[in-house]
């Protein structure tokens, strides 16, 4: 019995196979856990420890370092409003305050209906449309209180379901296939190629 659903377990194993060492798959696996459950559960951490050859404490320690991983349940939509320098200069703080009022929850909190979790973020690298808002790590180009309220309305009514998947789903494009290059296999090939190039260089030099 694994905590990951069968299809996700399959993807987890594929992810591990993309790296020379299993532990490297830690962050992708934590994202995967979040895709399944919306946050990183204790059971998921135990399974990731097993997949990456680490201890559950190390998985927790690593997960807790990164802002995107939530170790407690969050809303279906995690709304992030940037207040860093460019957004500050464009009214980010006011937009955050407005968001808090609209959603009826404090920064870091979750709305009463469990749909929204509000966060104050650091710079989201989209400063030309400041203040920047992200929902589940999708840029939603929402810079004014009015646009924000419209966004919340759209989200509530499922009008953005295509653009904004539930929290945790990060990359919807799957990698097609695993690694194709086996470094061991390559050694001979490389030596040949080098010899060929050198031979060519010698003739060119003449």
């Amino acid at each position: 019995m694994t905590h990951f659903r069968t299809d996700l377990r399959q993807r987890a194993v594929e992810l591990v196979s993309l790296y020379p060492r299993a532990r490297s798959a830690m962050l992708p696996l934590l994202h995967l856990a979040q895709e399944q459950d919306g946050y990183v559960t204790d059971d998921a951490m135990a399974e990731i420890a097993e997949l990456t050859g680490t201890t559950p404490a190390e998985v927790r320690g690593t997960a807790a370092f990164y802002d995107m991983f939530h170790l407690e349940p969050v809303g279906k939509y995690v709304v992030g409003v940037c207040t860093n320098i460019a957004c500050l200069l464009a009214g980010g703080e006011d937009l955050l305050a407005h968001a808090s009022a609209t959603l009826g929850c404090s920064v870091g909190g979750t709305s009463a209906d469990g749909l929204f979790t509000l966060e104050e973020t650091e710079c989201l690298a989209d400063c030309n449309i400041a203040p920047v808002v992200q929902v589940n790590h999708r840029y939603v180009r929402t810079t004014t209180p009015e646009l924000f309220d419209a966004l919340v309305d759209d989200l509530r009514h499922g009008r953005l379901d295509h653009d904004v998947p539930p929290h945790g789903t990060l990359i919807r494009i799957r990698r097609s296939g695993g690694l194709r290059v086996d470094p061991e296999e390559l050694a001979g090939e490389r030596a040949e190629a080098r010899a060929a190039r050198e031979a060519r260089a010698a003739t060119e030099a003449k």
Binding site: R21, P28, G61, A86
Partner: protein, 434 residues
């Protein structure tokens, strides 16, 4: 007047709505650079990059060719692309990964060929969900197209490329922290020495780390030659560069312009670029190269956008992001927000950075929100001095990485330029702008 005649090297496809697709890419000369590179010796490709004098675009401005050649002696094991872009007000790599992912992928393959590595990673900031999907799509297509995998375009060169999502931590942009994150750990920067991942990098093996924009220049350099690139710009600052302009300007955005030939004023005021300050107000200060950089006053607006030119005036071009603050801006609030950022993003290893950032943030908060004391201003400077002794530029360090010593820049700049604003906050019992 801004000088805008230079070629668009990395942003040439900006005019197309489908710039991220393989079809458009192939139509506009895509993968030609790679095909050409594969006909050359790896050393020749590296030599072209060396000849281009391409300075790394990640912030430190280290010449890419030199970085690669440091490794000639021992073969490189891995190539890692730094797409963590989290420096506040920097958004050029974000632009590149979303708008031209194939250009990045092609650049990486060319660099991998020059370095003769067989596995490369693109570490992308986790918040770039769309960018992650586009780069993954581009990688899938590149495999399909024969540009990745076994025997690329029928040559004897083979490469695997993996995109690795970050998860929200600014420090992972620091190259050794990035490697730790890629190894599945907390993003704690590694202690130096060894000074370069080139010596001990991913899994302890020689590794080249380069920025997304640095990589995106490769196809053009190979197609047009290093000399053509070096002919652009001036002095050590060759080529064009993406500048991310934000803050109190009419037309914020990412602009590719030639280095040195343009000034800060050109970038901010040219109608085709920044278009001037909102409401035509006066500029109070600019941040010339990311929030780690000391600020400039309006008197330096005519300084050319060149690495050495900015360094000579005691700051840096860094990540190429320029933030404009005008006369409506409260510099105390701006400084507080920058310090709050550093305090949130300190990885927490080093005492001066971990504890210093929190302490500075709390003092700045009091000054801005009420409760500030006159002596706080000098206390701030003294604490900064304990983090970056002497408050010089470039900073001296009491810490493992330069995040710690970066935070005094804005406090020191704001206090030296606008000390009276701080005192006004004390007298007013909070922010007079509120």
């Amino acid at each position: 007047m801004a000088f805008l005649d230079s070629p668009k090297i990395v942003s040439s496809r900006a005019k197309f709505a489908d710039s991220h697709t393989l079809a458009r890419y192939l139509e506009t000369g895509g993968y030609e650079g790679l095909r050409k590179a594969l006909t050359m010796f790896p050393e020749q490709v590296a030599a072209e990059v060396d000849a281009a004098s391409l300075l790394g675009r990640g912030g430190a401005g280290f010449p890419a060719g030199r970085k690669w050649s440091m490794l000639r002696k021992s073969p490189v094991s891995y190539l890692v692309v730094n797409g963590d872009e989290s420096e506040p007000a920097t958004f050029k790599d974000h632009y590149l990964v979303e708008r031209d992912p194939h250009q990045l992928v092609e650049g990486v393959i060319i660099a991998a060929y020059a370095l003769q590595v067989t596995q490369a990673f693109i570490y992308l900031r986790g918040e770039f969900a769309l960018g992650l999907e586009r780069v993954q799509q581009a990688i899938n297509e590149a495999y399909e197209h024969g540009a990745l995998g076994r025997k690329i375009f029928g040559s004897s060169f083979s490469l695997d490329l993996v995109v690795h999502p970050g998860a929200g931590a600014y420090i992972c942009g620091e190259e050794t922290a990035l490697i730790e994150a890629l190894e599945g750990k907390r993003g704690f920067p590694r202690i130096k020495p060894p000074f370069f991942p080139a010596v001990t990098g991913l899994y302890g093996e020689p590794t080249v780390v380069n920025n997304v924009e640095t990589m995106s220049n490769m196809p053009w350099i190979v197609l047009n030659g290093g000399a053509a690139f070096a002919a652009l710009g001036g002095g050590r600052s060759a080529g064009t560069r993406l500048f991310a302009l934000s803050g109190r300007v009419r037309n914020p955005g990412v602009f590719e312009i030639e280095m040195v030939k343009n000034t800060f004023r050109d970038l901010i005021y040219d109608p085709q670029l920044g278009g001037g300050v909102i409401d035509d107000r006066a500029i109070k200060a600019i941040i010339p190269g990311g929030v780690s950089a000391p600020w400039f006053g309006p008197e330096l607006l005519d300084l050319p956008l060149g690495q050495d030119e900015v360094a000579e005036k005691g700051s840096m071009l860094g990540s190429g992001s320029i933030v404009v603050m005008d006369e409506t801006t409260c510099v105390v609030r701006a400084t507080w927000r920058i310090i709050k950022f550093f305090s949130r993003e300190s990885c927490g290893q080093c005492t001066p950075c971990r504890e210093g950032s929190g302490w500075l943030e709390r003092i700045m908060y009091r000054l801005e929100h009420g409760g500030g004391r006159i002596e706080d201003v000098d206390l701030l400077l003294d604490l900064c001095d304990n983090i970056a002794p002497g408050l010089t530029w470039p900073p001296q360090q009491t810490t493992i990485c330069v995040l710690g010593p970066s935070m005094p820049s804005s406090i020191n700049a704001a206090i030296s330029m606008f000390r009276d604003d701080f005192y006004a906050h004390v007298q007013h019992g909070g922010c007079p702008h509120d």
